[in-house]
């Protein structure tokens, strides 16, 4: 754990970006245990200075409605930006990376997370999936962040390129696919 913290604090310094990740959790088998969920989802990772919000990584499961999620995640960046600028004033020292629920829609909940280097993660979760509460979402973001840090540590990865890391992909898949 110490190692992870060390990573997230040091290695991501020096670049700023946005990394939205939508994660849509589709069906719910059983609401009590998170491990029983069968999530579907989409991911968007964006990199670049705050005003450059292009996606670094997008994943959405299932893929048939991908476009909708792209729009949704893109629109959610408005709120991310707002929250970041609000946070900049108030919570500089607190290092709260989790932005919480960006905004709800009828069918989905959009959560945000921003690294110290302003890489944004956005996660879109099916509203009906009540198993995923704030804590689960938070830990998922933390996992994403760690994995993203690993991607960044790869010397062959150019910051700003689309993420094609298999490890990252696998981690995202593991989050989006039933764990039961």
């Amino acid at each position: 754990m110490a190692l992870q913290r060390w990573r997230s604090e040091t290695s991501l310094d020096g670049f700023r970006g946005s990394l939205p990740v939508p994660l849509r959790l589709q069906e719910l088998e059983c609401w009590e245990t998170a491990s029983m969920m069968r999530p579907g989802g989409g991911h968007v990772l964006g990199w670049g200075p705050a005003q450059k919000n292009y996606p670094l990584y997008i994943r959405s499961v299932p893929t048939e409605n991908e476009l909708k999620f792209h729009y949704m995640v893109h629109t959610s960046l408005d709120v991310v930006d707002e929250k970041i600028s609000a946070m900049g004033k108030a919570l500089v020292d607190q290092r709260e990376l989790y932005l919480g629920l960006l905004y709800p829609t009828e069918d989905y909940k959009v959560y945000g997370y921003v690294t110290n280097s302003k890489v944004k993660f956005v996660m879109v979760v099916d509203s009906s999936n009540t198993a995923l509460r704030d804590n689960e979402i938070r830990s998922m973001f933390r996992k994403l962040h760690n994995s993203y840090t690993d991607v960044m540590c790869n010397p062959f990865y150019n910051p700003g390129d689309r993420i094609q890391s298999r490890a990252f992909d696998g981690m995202v898949t593991s989050m989006m696919i039933p764990v039961c």
């Binding site: 719910l28 609401w31 893109h74 629109t75 408005d78 707002e82 509203s127 700003g160």
Partner: protein, 1218 residues
């Protein structure tokens, strides 16, 4: 007490609710005090310490004082809190013990009993003391007061339950004190009662909640109970606590719904699952919606009813708490969760009903908030409300689509039926909004009434939403709403209005590189542009879509065919060009020059192979593909130099273009890397550095505005450059993927050509790549014509026909028909021309074009006047001939010098045999060629008829191989006295052995030489005879050597020199002999040389006897006997001598001369004898020696050998084998 006088106060659920305090006892007294009391009670706050660790609160207490009645006391099990009397006060003014005993005590007892019966312990007895009254009866109760009595009678151990209020209506400090004490007491007791009763209530409530898993449990009942608590808190102005009650109810209900969704259904919940029949939205204008509350109480509420009611209460409390923005936020959450819950509970909802409900609710919430905030507040909190606006817009949109209000032809009957059903579900407008012009109800009804009204409302909402989003900087959201609006406009067939929104959205997506939204928006834009008839824009969008990887193959092909079909349609009416940027159509990958250095001479051919990657999904026939070229005149010649080429041109002539990043991250990664170069400027005067710097060569790429990414969409960006220079190809089919297209051009004017644009035309559609970057250039240079003449072989040989190559580098001169080169040559060199020989034009791509002209160059006279200064060694003698050539491009003649080498070296020598003389000529072939020699002649040029040269050569033709020599010998015969010197000319025909018969007669090779003093004057004969008594010579034993020198002729011309002495007509000459054995076979014993005086007369003989000793056994050649002329030292030439010669003049130098005889002869081609003689002229102050010319002394014993036998006492036999 008349109970009927005061009817049970109805529970009025308004904010006027206050905790109830009953008043018993003296009603008139209370009435008189009441105004002050009700005014004073809330004035001071009181700290309320709470149970369960809740934070203490300062609370302003108010009460509703009602007359005490037994009915007011709650019966067992009654959970009503609002009507619960928290405190019972008994008022008395009694100051008379008698009166007290008579009436008041009984009344008090009765009151107490009633309270006890209802186990109510919250009571207070107030004794009001009045000074006026008191004074009257001072004497009656001097010691014990009524208060004491009451305390004694009723307040056992609770003395504080009886308070005294002194002179309440007076304005004195005592009164004030008394009031304060009373109010504090009252407040404390009230709070104690609250704490106790509410605590009890909460406990009961909790107990009830814990029973929720029991079958009969009803949420509605529980709801009513907890709401009671909420009401009380509200009544106590504890809105926060009240809100908590509702939030708990909210959460509980939500949890049940979630559990239900997970299969854990509660029975009571099924009740909420009844089909939605009414969707009249939230009602927030009343503090309490009694209608809905009644439904809940009667357990008839639907889910929407419950939610509506719950939210209306929360809203009310939040507004009390001055948190309107939380209302907005919660409203959005509520609406979303309601929609979700209905879905989860599988409640049947008529289509559109929820949309109506949400729409109405949104507007209701917004209007409610607007109602309690001023404009400025609203404007600064748009972020909170805009979500509702957007949601309402969305819902209205979907209603519009549902009811057929968006289609062009208006709603059909089915749509109308649906509309009627939806309106029916709204019910009648509520009275509280009936008078409001803009009520949500009216709005919705109107919007659904007609297409026009819908449009008006929808546009109003959309514009308002967009404006709000924009004002708070949520550009993306604004664009997204704008896209919906565009869709609407497209449905309404007003693409001109849709376009701006689509463009705006697309620009945004492009700037941020969101591929899928880009594709989708572009597709919409394409349709829009098609409707608008914006041909150029449409074609461009189509081309972008045709190359879009995110579309299906079919869609891509569709858009590609759109372009092609347009191109075909317009093919008939040429003239109008539609210029589109190329990058979507095809991308330039690389470019390859041939020649690779991209430098051609004027007139040369340059080819450019361009690899273009077609993005189209199908093969496209481009009528023309052209590269426009910008021409600039060469300013500095430096660019042509090899140095420049090496520096600037890629080795293989390939220029690669960075792959244009597919529409993906347009913003970040497509930025090219900095291209920097250094600059130094030197001052022209002293070339000192005065400026240095770094120039960024691609500033225009780097400093482009970020937004300009969107300008790619604007077709006007690409202007077709109409340059005079174009590289063209026609009818090229571009297959999907890479295509190689080769352009050829003939270089015309010298200068630098920069490739500027690449364009491909398909019909009237021109795809243009406006700038080819990185910069691609080729250079054309011009050169002065040049003529080179060079032999085909390594070197030219004199005397034989050979080919020379005339290379004409035409440079900028164009060879015309009939142009000729005029050659003026010296006589010694002939130029042979074959008729069939024509100039051949070679075009060499590497070098500038050259015209080659081969001519047979004639032979030169091999003899020529070649220089006497011959180079030593085996180098061939050379001579130069100049050819002057008149070229058509110049008025000046070009003089070219050709160097010919002599193929042969010729030497001669005179051979003697006694008095017979032979002339030997040696011809040495120095060249690499073999020659055929023929017709060798030696003639005497001195035309002395009595001299004959008889050739001893047998063969007339001879082959002389390379680096070999051939000898020719003639015998010299004469009949009369021959001249002292003989001039001869040797001539021999020669021709290259390899070649067949040549058409031209070749001149023979001639060699002239002179032979002097060839007559033999002396014969030298040596003879070795064994020692006497022995037959043979023996090694080690002395033998005698007899040397005889015989004069063969009388005095002749040649003898006349210093050595000749005349004495009485008797001539003698001094000769020196010398016996030398160079091979060390012999040891000469005694004097080996001597001077003899030789009479100049025929047959005069001089004999010398010497002793020699053989050193070896075998046939030994005789030792050499040399003969010199012995010249006296007082020579007339002595003055010419110098010191150097003097040193040389010893016997060794003589030896050398003898040894070098052949060499000196060969070196000196003619007059060799003379030169030898001349060297002898270098006399000494002492007597000098002069070797006799080789012809004058004949060694008769040359070659003879003597057998020497080894001596017997030789123990060592030395055998040398050679």
């Amino acid at each position: 007490m008349d109970a009927s006088e005061e009817p049970v106060p109805p529970v009025i659920y308004t904010m006027e609710n206050k905790p109830i305090v009953t008043c018993a006892g003296d009603q008139n007294l209370f009435t008189s005090i009441y105004p002050t009391l009700s005014q004073q009670l809330p004035r001071e706050p009181m700290e309320w310490r709470r149970s369960y660790g809740r934070a203490p609160k300062m609370i302003h207490l108010e009460s509703n004082f009602v007359q005490f009645k037994e009915e007011l006391l709650p019966k067992e099990g009654n959970k009503a809190l609002l009507t619960f009397p928290f405190l019972h006060i008994y008022w008395t003014e009694c100051c008379d013990t008698e009166v007290y005993k008579a009436t008041v005590k009984d009344d008090l007892t009765k009151w107490q009993n009633v309270l006890k019966a209802h186990s109510s312990v919250d009571w207070l007895i107030v004794v009001v003391e009045n000074d006026a009254k008191k004074k009257n009866k001072t004497n009656i109760l001097p010691r014990t007061s009524i208060v004491d009595k009451i305390r004694n009678d009723f307040c056992n151990k609770q003395s504080d339950r009886c308070v005294v209020l002194s002179d309440p209506l007076k304005d004195s400090s005592r009164t004030q004190e008394s009031w304060n004490a009373f109010l504090t007491k009252l407040r404390t007791l009230l709070l104690m009662s609250f704490t106790k009763n509410l605590g009890k209530f909460e406990d009961d409530m909790r107990t009830l909640r814990e029973k929720r898993t029991e079958p009969g449990w009803s949420f509605c009942d529980y709801f009513m109970v907890q709401e009671e608590l909420a009401f009380v808190f509200e009544m106590l102005q504890q809105f926060e606590d009240a809100l908590v009650q509702y939030d708990e109810l909210d959460a509980l209900f939500s949890q049940y719904v979630v559990n239900f969704g997970a299969g854990d259904g509660a029975n009571w919940l099924t009740f909420f699952c009844q089909p939605v029949k009414s969707w009249n939205g939230l009602i927030l204008r009343k503090p309490i919606d009694m209608e809905k509350r009644g439904l809940i109480q009667r357990q008839e509420a639907t889910l929407l009813d419950l939610r509506s009611y719950l939210f209306s209460r929360q809203c009310t409390l939040l507004l009390f708490l001055q948190r309107p923005w939380e209302v907005a936020q919660r409203a959005l959450e509520l609406l979303h969760s309601c929609v979700q819950e209905l879905k989860l509970l599988e409640v049947s909802v008529p289509p559109g009903a929820l949309d109506c409900w949400v729409f109405l609710s949104c507007l209701e919430v917004l209007q409610r908030i607007e109602g309690c905030c001023d404009r400025a507040q609203i404007d600064s909190n748009i972020a909170h409300t805009v979500g509702l606006w957007s949601y309402a817009t969305e819902k209205l949109k979907s209603l519009g689509y549902l009811c057929g209000l968006v289609s062009e032809q208006g709603p059909n009957s089915e749509d109308l039926n649906r509309t009627v059903d939806l309106l029916a579900g709204l019910g009648a407008e509520r009275p509280e909004t009936a008078n409001t012009a803009q009520s949500p109800y009216k709005k919705l009804k109107e919007a659904l009434s007609s297409v026009e009204a819908f449009e008006k409302h929808y546009l109003d909402l959309s514009h308002a939403t967009i404006e709000m989003y924009t004002s708070i900087g949520r550009i993306r959201s604004a664009k997204f709403v704008g896209k919906d609006l565009a869709e609407f406009y497209m449905r309404k067939k007003s693409p001109q209005k849709a376009e701006i929104y689509l463009q705006g959205a697309l620009k945004n997506y492009l700037a941020e590189g969101w591929a899928l939204p880009i594709t989708h928006t572009r597709k919409q834009l394409a349709e829009c542009q098609k409707h608008l008839g914006q041909i150029e824009n449409y074609l461009q969008t189509s081309s972008l879509l045709a190359s879009d990887q995110h579309l299906t193959e079919n869609e891509r092909e569709y858009f590609c065919r759109e372009i092609l079909s347009f191109a075909n349609r317009q093919a008939d009416s040429p003239g109008h060009k539609i210029v589109l940027p190329m990058h979507s159509f095809a991308q330039l990958r690389d470019l390859r020059f041939t020649p690779p250095n991209a430098v051609v001479h004027v007139g040369g051919v340059l080819s450019v192979e361009v690899t273009v990657c077609s993005q189209m999904p199908v093969p496209v026939l481009a009528e023309q593909i052209a590269v426009s070229v910008h021409f600039s005149v060469e300013k500095d010649s430096y660019r042509k130099t090899a140095e420049w080429l090496a520096k600037h041109k890629t080795a293989n002539g390939v220029v690669s273009f960075p792959a244009e990043t597919s529409p993906f991250p347009t913003s970040q990664n497509s930025l090219p890397a900095l291209e920097l170069c250094e600059v130094f400027e030197r001052s022209p005067s002293d070339s000192s550095l005065h400026t240095t710097g770094i120039i960024c060569k691609n500033v225009h790429m780097l400093l482009r505005k970020q937004e300009s990414g969107a300008s790619l969409e604007a077709p006007s960006g690409a202007a077709l450059e109409a340059g005079a220079h174009m590289l063209k190809r026609t009818a090229v089919t571009l297959e999907p993927g890479p295509n190689a297209i080769t352009f050829r051009t003939q270089a015309k004017e010298p200068g630098t050509y920069t490739l500027r644009q690449l364009c491909a035309s398909v019909g009237p559609v021109w795809f243009v790549l406006p700038h080819i970057y990185p910069l691609v250039q080729y250079d054309v240079y011009s050169q002065e014509p040049q003529l080179h003449v060079e032999p085909l072989a390594d070197s030219l040989l004199a005397g034989i026909p050979q080919k020379v190559k005339f290379t004409v580098t035409t440079g900028h001169y164009t060879v015309k028909n009939g142009d000729s080169l005029q050659l003026s040559n010296v006589e010694a060199m002939l130029i042979l021309c074959h008729e069939e020989n024509r100039a051949v034009i070679y075009s060499n791509m590497r070098a500038p074009a050259t015209g080659g002209e081969s001519t047979m160059l004639g032979m030169t006279e091999p003899h020529g006047k070649h220089k006497d200064t011959q180079k030593a060694g085996h180098c061939m003698a050379t001579m130069d001939h100049k050819v002057s050539i008149d070229c058509p491009w110049s008025i000046y003649s070009t003089v070219i010098s050709l160097t010919f080498s002599m193929p042969f070296r010729t030497t001669h020598s005179l051979l003697s045999s006694g008095t017979r003389k032979y002339v030997q000529v040696c011809v040495q072939n120095l060249s690499e060629l073999d020659f055929q020699l023929s017709d060798s002649h030696l003639v005497d040029t001195g035309d002395s008829t009595d001299l004959r040269l008889i050739p001893l050569n047998t063969e007339s033709e001879q082959r002389i191989h390379s680096k070999q020599a051939v000898f020719f010998v003639w015998e010299l015969k004469w009949t009369r006295e021959p001249p002292p010197s003989l001039h001869c000319r040797f001539s021999i025909g020669f021709s290259p052995a390899s070649e067949e018969r040549l058409s031209v007669p070749l001149k023979p090779y001639t060699y002239e030489f002179q032979v002097d003093n060839f007559l033999t004057l002396y014969t030298v004969r040596a003879e070795i005879s064994p020692p006497p008594g022995t037959e043979l010579c023996k090694t080690g034993s002395l033998c005698s050597l007899e040397v005889s020198v015989t004069r063969l002729s009388d005095l002749s011309e040649v003898d006349k020199d210093e050595a000749l002495t005349e004495c009485d007509d008797y001539f003698s000459t001094k000769l020196m002999y010398e016996v030398v054995d160079n091979s060390s076979n012999w040891a000469v014993c005694g004097k080996s040389s001597g001077v003899i005086s030789m009479p100049v007369a025929a047959r005069a003989t001089h004999r010398v006897h010497m002793e020699v000793m053989p050193l070896f056994a075998g046939y030994l050649p005789l030792p050499d006997v040399r003969l010199f002329k012995y010249l006296p030292h007082h020579s007339a030439h002595s003055s010419q001598l110098d010191a150097d010669s003097w040193i040389e003049n010893d016997s060794l130098s003589v030896d050398k001369h003898v040894d070098d005889q052949l060499d000196s002869g060969s070196v000196q081609s003619r007059g060799s004898t003379r030169s030898v003689a001349s060297s002898e002229h270098k006399g000494l102050p002492m007597p000098r020696l002069r070797a006799l010319p080789p012809g004058q002394a004949f060694n008769a014993s040359a070659g003879t050998q003597v057998l020497v036998i080894p001596s017997q006492d030789d123990h060592v036999l030395e055998v040398s084998v050679t």
